[in-house]
Subunit: 274 residues, 2 copies
C-alpha cells in the first residue's frame, strides 16, 4: 500500500495538530500514514521551508499529503495554505464562528496558549511531579494528607506512570501504594491508609497482560508466573471490595485514558489544564 | 466580567477537544472562560445528560456556552449538536474533505485512536518511564548507552519533569545528569559522559526564576541565594560551550515546549505518538 504523509504544522509544539489529526486519520482504516511534525514555524522563512518539505512529499506518483495546520499568524497561514497538500486549518474553520459569538476580534498572536500565566502552571506541575516521585510505591515520605488521590494495586498494574501523568498533565497530587505479599495475605490495608480510604483508587489488569508485562522485567520465576499473578489480582480485588474502593481495569486503556477515568470517577479537579 | 463556560465533549478522554479548544479560546483576551470537560460520552443516555448540562449553563442572563465536540459516532453527534450552546465539531468540519481526498468512508467508531495496537505503545511508554526513573539525577543505573538523550543542567532546571514527559508522551529514553559542585568547580564533565557528548542536551533558566523555584524547596540558605544561582548557571553555560552542547533556556516554556524543542533540535525520533 502506498504510504501517505500527514504533516502537523504548528508555530508551537505541534501537540494540538497531532492530537486533532490523529483522532481523524485513525477513522480511515484502509490507509497507511506516515506522520511528520513540523513544529515552531514562527517566521516567514520557516513557513516557506515547510511548504518546500510538503511539496517534496508531493513528488510524481505519490498520494497528496494531508496537512493539519494550527498556525495562528495570518501571514504564515497564507504561505502554508498554498502548499500542494490537502490543507486543513483549525483556525480557518473555527475562528469565524467564535469571533461572531464572542463579539471580539482574536489577538492572532502565537504562544498565547502557553503564556506567562503558565509560570504558575509550570510550578504546580513540577511540584505535583515531585510529590508523585516522593510518594511512589509507598515511598518514605508518605505525605498522603496532601494527596488528591492514592492509587493502589499490585506490582506493574500501572500505578507509577499514571501518577506521573496525572502530575505532569494536570498538576494533580497522586500518590501510590503497592499491594504486596503482606496486604494480599492478610486481605487488609495497613493502618496508616485506613483514614485515607476515600482517596484510594484501585488499578487492576487482565492476568495474561500482567504476566506479559512482568516478564519484560523478570522473564522467569514466581513474580511473572501465571499462578502468582492470578493469585495477586484475585486478592487485590477482594481488598477493593472489602473497603469499597473504586477501581478500573487498565488492560485495554492508554495512560491518558486511565488518568481521565480516575479524574472522571473521583471528581478530583484538574489543578492545571494542558 | 461575566464568565462564559466552555465545554469539551469527548467519547474518550477529552484531551483532543481540550487542546484544540484551548488553543482557540486563548486568542480572545477580553473574555473570562470556565472550562469543563465532559469525557466518555459513549452512549445515548450520556449524550442526553451532556446536553442537559450544557443547557443548564445557558440559563437566563448567562452568555451562551461554547461546545468543542470530538464525538465520533453520528447518532451521538446528532444529539449533542442540538444543545443550546455554540457547537463546534471537528468531525463535522474535517471528515468531508478527508473522505473526498482519501476516497474511503470513515469507520466512525470510537476508541480507534487508542486501539489494540496501542498495547505496544503502552509498553514502550512504561519502559521509557522506568528508564527515566532509573536514570534520574545521575541515578545508580547509568544506562546511558540506551539513552536517546541525556539532559544536563543545575538542580531544578527542569531535567526530571522533562525526562518524564518525553518518556510518557513519546516513549523516548531520556536520562539526566545534574551539574553539581564537582563539575561546576572543575568546569569539566565526568569521564563516563565524555563518549556520550552527542547525546547531551543542556537546560538553562533565568537566575531570578531559578531562585524562585529553589525557594519553594528550601526558602533560606546558599542553595536558593541569588549569588549561588548566578554562579551555577554561569559555570553550567561555560560547560555547554566548552563541549559544544546544544541547550535551551526554559524560563518561559512549558514542559511540552521544552520537550518539543529538544526533539526538534536533536532529531530524536518519537517512539510513540500520542
Amino acid at each position: 500500500m502506498t504510504e501517505r504523509v500527514v504533516f502537523f504544522l504548528s508555530d508551537q509544539t505541534g501537540v494540538t495538530a497531532e492530537t486533532l489529526g490523529h483522532s481523524l486519520i485513525t477513522q480511515y482504516s484502509g490507509q497507511k500514514f506516515r506522520q511528520v511534525t513540523l513544529p515552531f514555524i514562527d517566521t516567514v522563512d520557516k513557513a516557506r521551508e515547510a511548504v518546500a518539505t510538503i511539496n517534496e512529499a508531493c513528488a510524481a506518483g505519490k498520494p497528496r499529503p494531508i496537512v493539519f495546520s494550527t498556525l495562528v499568524q495570518p501571514d504564515l497561514r497564507a504561505i502554508v495554505r498554498d502548499s500542494d497538500g490537502l490543507h486543513l486549518d483549525i483556525f480557518d474553520e473555527f475562528l469565524e464562528p467564535l469571533t461572531a459569538e464572542l463579539g471580539e476580534e482574536p489577538v492572532l498572536e502565537l504562544g498565547l496558549s502557553h503564556g506567562m500565566s503558565d509560570i504558575d502552571a509550570y510550578m504546580r506541575r513540577i511540584e505535583a511531579t515531585n510529590f508523585a516521585l516522593a510518594n511512589d510505591d509507598g515511598g518514605v515520605s508518605r505525605n498522603y494528607d496532601k494527596a488528591d488521590v492514592i492509587l493502589i494495586g499490585v506490582s506493574r498494574s500501572g500505578k507509577t506512570p499514571t501518577c506521573l501523568y496525572l502530575a505532569l498533565q494536570y498538576g494533580v497530587y497522586a500518590a501510590n501504594f503497592p499491594l504486596t505479599d503482606e496486604e494480599l495475605e492478610n486481605g487488609a490495608l495497613p493502618g496508616f491508609l485506613l483514614h485515607q480510604t476515600k482517596k484510594l483508587y484501585g488499578l487492576t489488569i487482565a492476568p495474561d497482560r500482567l504476566v506479559e508485562i512482568r516478564k519484560e522485567r523478570r522473564p522467569i520465576g514466581r513474580y511473572s508466573s501465571a499462578q502468582q499473578v492470578r493469585y495477586e489480582l484475585r486478592e487485590a480485588d477482594k481488598i477493593f471490595r472489602r473497603y469499597g474502593i473504586p477501581h478500573v481495569n487498565t488492560t485495554s486503556f492508554s495512560i491518558e485514558e486511565i488518568s481521565s477515568r480516575i479524574l472522571d470517577s473521583t471528581g478530583v479537579e484538574r489543578r492545571v489544564r494542558p
